[in-house]
Symmetry: C4
Subunit: 211 residues, 4 copies
């Protein structure tokens, strides 16, 4: 039993490390626009031009944070780690690690560089990254729920259905955000923001009063 406990704990710790680093690396995309620096634009104006970067930084940070909260709520209740869980969790971490790239694109292309078409591509690519994360989460959840009684006996049928439902909602929502991006970049990003608020609300509602 002690051995099992430690195994789960180490996978949790490793995942936490990846979440923490991915969140912190987001700041490296926060730089002044090269053309503003080259043109010697007043710093205050240069800062105001960065609003899409501040927006994408905050949105990605918040979304990864909520994901971490959920990941940690789930793993707390995992009692056994098998190879399927190890590798589906690895796929999830791959996509989490990837997030700084679409975040940077969104910050760069939402308004600043490129055309309206580029803004739509950046928004669609951003939402697509979260579709991928959602899919990885679904695979991981399947690896758990498949043998739930053995792997995570503390999760009730009711809770399992709720988690499945929320993954379905997430998948549909982010896929919709990808679709929206074909028409309007800001609408797509706006939906991603709404989703972050929704997940936060869900986390608040489901989080036990005090653990």
């Amino acid at each position: 039993v002690a051995e099992t406990e430690r195994e789960g704990t180490r996978l949790e710790a490793f995942s936490d490390g990846v979440f923490a680093i991915a969140m912190t690396l987001l700041v490296l995309e926060l730089t002044l626009l090269p053309k503003d620096v080259a043109n010697g634009i007043p710093l205050w104006d240069a800062l105001t031009h960065l609003w899409p970067k501040f927006l994408s930084f905050t949105l990605s940070f918040a979304t990864i944070l909520i994901m971490w909260v959920n990941h940690h709520g789930l793993f707390r209740r995992i009692r056994k780690v098998d190879a399927h869980l190890l590798f589906t969790n690895g796929l999830l971490l791959l996509f989490v690690t990837f997030i700084p790239f679409p975040t940077a694109l969104l910050g760069d292309y939402l308004t600043v560089h490129g055309t309206a078409a580029d803004a739509r591509v950046a928004a669609g690519f951003y939402a697509l990254a979260f579709v991928a994360i959602n899919a990885a989460w679904a695979l991981m959840w399947q690896a758990i729920s498949h043998r739930r009684k053995a792997v995570a006996p503390g999760i009730s049928d009711h809770e399992a259905r709720a988690l499945t439902l929320s993954l379905v909602i997430g998948f549909i929502s982010y896929a919709t955000a990808v679709g929206l991006a074909f028409f309007n970049a800001l609408a797509s990003v706006g939906l991603c923001m709404l989703l972050a608020v929704f997940w936060t609300y869900q986390a608040f509602r489901h989080h036990p009063e005090a653990e």
Copy 2:
């Protein structure tokens, strides 16, 4: 009880990770000035031009370190983690993660690039980031002190008042540093340095002789 203990420990470990990474990423801003490299200026001279970067690196590192010490002094005594604490702590981490950006601006604009107005903007923006951190800290403290008996029974009324007072002082001081920046960039940065020394002194005074 064991479960609770572990919950608090994991939030602490995750926060520590973000603090450690944010502190370590500061070094990535330490680069020679591109124009010095382009002009083939002797390396020694190029290094002396970097004093604002060394200053902002050291100041931010020291301030985050003290914040970590305080965070760790507080979380050691947290017994229950609810959603409010989770998310106000998340907001704090968002602003801590953000610090390398105003640090880089301060290093770049205090003397080197831009005008005196840019130096004032950089200094004001830097102090503003710490106002934001202070506000997040206040929200987090409110989430704790609101139900202190349940969440952190080990904190006495006296200690709770001291922490509230130090947050008020911090807020006023950093807001003053923002105000000062409208008149003089170095005065604003100097106040931030004084505050770092003051927090260090406070941490020394309040830290138990041996834990």
Copy 3:
């Protein structure tokens, strides 16, 4: 005993940190091609030009992840940490830390910059880095197996032979990938991909059903 346990645990945690950071830093190489940005190429086209970067990012992430799984499978069973293990593990971490550099070269030179000769150099250098990792792993394994009864009593003779064999196979395979690179860059990268799939399969097969 408790002291020993902690020692092993801390080396594991430190190694995990390095693995997690090395994996996460890979994303910093994911940037649009400077020439595509300079020429104002449509974002969608610029993204399609990045396939070698997406490939090398995914390949390196997956390979380091599998290595982490194996490292963690091995260290779980280590009971004593001596200086040889400390330093051979350090050598392994040196090469793991190094991986983002050959990954970046592969992403940059497989198709985009340079000549066909450059692509072969990039592929060969990439495979060479894994030869080095394999050699470090062999040294570390020798430091363990040399006094296996004392250091890791839980590992059976059968398992020890299997690990030695898999290191020999790995060495030969990556050395072959280096050799292939003299003739064809894609063949060399393809072999590295096959190896990642093979290691994953091995990890699945050997991983206990539930720990």
Copy 4:
């Protein structure tokens, strides 16, 4: 007692995080020379031009790794953490975090950019960073040895004297490397390499057979 144990463990874990991140960030300095990329030099030739970067990467990685081994050997035996230890350890971490900057300068200026005078400045600055680390280590050791019976009762008088002696040797050696840099950059770097080998030998000799 359990509380104390945890305190020491958390400071250890935080320090480990900073060590691990500083070591891993070193790889970000490993990039091809911009002028080689601009001139379309064959990749193999461009790689051979990087030997000073490979050298400084390996030297810094190895030196920080040995420092981590020693740090971890010391902290294992710390039983009480007071404010002096917290802040002198913080100063040590500040300088450890700083190492990627002098490492990058050494990699850039030892042969490639600039003049022979620049190479000497880069080598001297590099050695100076280790003088600073050595000084921080001495302050931290003083904070411990000052009240050794209470803070680290397991350290014998003999061991305490050995650690003091090795800090004095380290200080004199790195100061000598700074001095040498005024005359010859490679001699200075060579001394730093010898020191890394010497510390490794010391760590081997003093490390218990099996913990």
